[in-house]
């Protein structure tokens, strides 16, 4: 090779090609998606006065997302449901329908995940699991899921002496025969971080349809 401008042009062009092909064109195609109603009217516009989806999450759940991020939950738990017939996401009850681009447009950081050492969490808030179940699970996963390899998040909880006036309303019920169960006279309470994390998990739900994604798809 003797002609260097050609080499430079090639180096520049190949990456520019993939950048515009993959990223720029996705941005053009759906980078401006907005929330919409579950069904569209005859003109293909959102129903007037209808509820818009997805709805933005707020408050304590958003703080919980920070905890989810800095603990690295995403490295074992995805947040996406593949279409029915591709994999068994639907049959496993991970979501009532596939997830589509519009589901994620209000998220500041998209945590799709690429690993399922643990189950998918896109709709974990839609399963019949109480806050107390989540706290038990985070404190010691073996309580709720024997044989799980999920790490314990005990450091997000505090063990304290039970107030003589009565136990804390937040106290987590830890069965006595598990390691790190509180001794008599003590109770386990979640820190603000644990509360926020559970609020976030409970906020993860796919309980609405979109024009492009109906239930059971």
């Amino acid at each position: 090779m003797k002609n260097l401008p050609l080499l430079f042009l090639g180096i520049f062009f190949t990456l520019a090609f993939s950048w515009s092909g993959l990223i720029l064109s996705s941005e053009i195609q759906y980078g401006k998606l907005v929330p919409t109603t579950s069904t569209l009217n005859a003109e293909g516009e959102p129903e007037e006065g209808g509820e818009l989806f997805p709805a933005a999450s707020a408050g304590i759940a958003l703080q919980g997302k920070e905890v989810y991020q800095n603990q690295g939950c995403m490295y074992c738990h995805s947040q996406q449901v593949r279409p029915k017939g591709y994999g068994a996401d639907f049959e496993r009850g991970w979501g009532p329908r596939q997830t589509v681009p519009r589901d994620y447009i209000l998220e500041d950081r998209v945590l799709l995940g690429t690993m399922r050492t643990g189950p998918d969490l896109a709709n974990v808030g839609g399963r019949a699991l109480s806050a107390d179940w989540h706290h038990q699970h985070l404190y010691n996963p073996q309580i709720t899921s024997p044989g799980s390899v999920m790490p314990p998040f005990r450091y997000l909880y505090r063990m304290q002496e039970i107030d003589p006036e009565g136990p804390s309303p937040d106290a987590v019920s830890i069965p006595a025969d598990f390691p790190y169960a509180p001794p008599p006279g003590y109770e386990v309470v979640p820190t603000d971080e644990a509360k926020a994390l559970v609020a976030y998990l409970l906020s993860l739900r796919i309980d609405y349809e979109l024009p492009e994604a109906k239930f059971s798809q």
Partner: protein, 77 residues
């Protein structure tokens, strides 16, 4: 909003343009002698200090390959 099929059309057009320019680049290169003595380039890594025909590396406890290598009678075929 653009539809997916419109985008695919655009991508196909762009791909055709790229293909045409690649063909032209190749034509240009051959016209301007870029491809002459092409295989010679492979020898540009050899220098006076590390000449062609000499292996350079061996485990430190093994005897080093010594020049001339390979033996001269085998290369003069």
């Amino acid at each position: 909003m653009y539809t997916a099929s419109a985008l695919v059309t655009v991508v196909i057009i762009v791909a055709c343009l790229i293909f045409v320019s690649a063909v032209y680049a190749l034509y240009w290169a051959s016209r301007h002698g870029q491809l002459e003595r092409f295989e010679e380039g492979a020898k540009s890594i050899f220098t006076e200090e590390e000449p062609e025909g000499r292996p350079l590396d061996a485990f430190p406890d093994k005897e080093k390959p010594r020049p001339p290598w390979p033996p001269e009678e085998e290369t003069r075929s």
